[in-house]
Symmetry: C2
Subunit: 189 residues, 2 copies
DNA sequence: CATTTATCGTTAGCCGCCTAACTATCCGCC
DNA sequence: GGCGGATAGTTAGGCGGCTAACGATAAATG
């Protein structure tokens, strides 16, 4: 994640202090939020650095996984359209064009026109792409296991539970969620 | 985070199934990892979308915060060098040049040569920059509070605790962490 | 059947981030 | 005191995101 976060998170006292100046600042919420962003970013980097050793970007990896997963599930039909891939990996179709360009240039993926709908293309994993993916996956799985090793099994459960609470909240309404507005706060919900 | 993650996380049964094929796949670890990335990404987008309404990027915001925080703490000296800013926000110096260019173009920040060391520059918040920041912060704080609202106070504590466990693990060694390698695992290190 | 509307993939252009190289300056060491 | 190595900031070039617009095709609608 190409992100960008304050490297050293603020200490809790500082948040308490800042909360005196900004009544809207909820110290424990801010602390949780910043730690979430920071840790998520770091976890992202962990896998990214691994993928980089296989000359694959996160985006490319997502595409390969989607194609491979589809080929696993659907039996024969291991093709997907760029639009489906884009939606599946949470990226715009324009971006997907670029990703497929790169992957096709590396010979990991193949484009072919759809025979029924001439607007569409189909994207398919090449043997080389599948081979590459099978090289990447085991160490990738090990990285994830390694990173989560400090969490016990019950801790992982609660971790996922708490993450899901936040995630569904975020999915609730992507825009204009707070709506408190000091003087006009009558609309109590 | 310009990231990129599978939009719909795999269900646990699928992970269990996949684990039969890949012995390295730890289902609960993978689940926790994917949820972490997904939620972190979503949280990132929440603040990013807010900052966008103020025509500020995450990077720019980090810079403004660093300058403002420094001006709060240090008393008078509200200047920082690009290198310090880069290190503080976890970005390369080259990137920082671009960020400062943009901010300076918007009049939120000012560059001046350091009077002692002629290699260095100093970056300083303009009054306009501070004003802009003070416009951004309260709703920003409200967003964070809103996002974390579903977590109770004790839940937030455990959340931060678990995040910290993962974070310090990730910080442990950024490269080559798994090192299992079945047959050649002698180099114990 | 003709025309509008929607969808698909691509292109063009912007921006943030990276690495690698460069210039200018400072510092340490003979 | 001059010279090599470190350091500051910038530049150049690449890449992966994004939005907005486009031509081509399909589907809906009159």
């Amino acid at each position: 994640m190409p992100l960008l976060m304050l490297k050293d998170l603020p200490r809790y006292e500082n948040l308490l202090e800042a909360a005196r100046e900004f009544p809207d600042l909820d110290p424990s919420a801010t602390e949780a939020f910043l730690h979430l962003l920071r840790t998520g970013d770091e976890a992202f980097r962990v896998v990214e650095s691994h993928l980089a050793t296989h000359a694959i970007t996160q985006g490319g990896f997502s595409v390969l996984m989607a194609l491979w997963g589809c080929c696993q599930r659907e039996g024969e039909d291991s093709k997907l359209s760029p639009a489906t891939l884009a939606e599946h990996t949470g990226v715009t179709r324009a971006t997907m064009t670029g990703l497929i360009d790169t992957l096709e240039g590396d010979g990991l993926v193949r484009r072919a026109p759809d025979r029924d709908d001439r607007r569409m293309m189909t994207v398919e994993l090449t043997p080389r792409g599948e081979k590459r993916l099978l090289q990447i996956l085991p160490p990738h799985f090990r990285r994830m296991a390694w990173l989560m090793a400090p969490l016990s099994e019950p801790e992982r459960k609660t971790f996922v539970r708490l993450l899901n609470k936040v995630l569904s909240r975020a999915a609730d309404e992507p825009d204009a969620p707070p709506a408190p507005a000091a003087t006009v706060s009558r609309a109590r919900r």
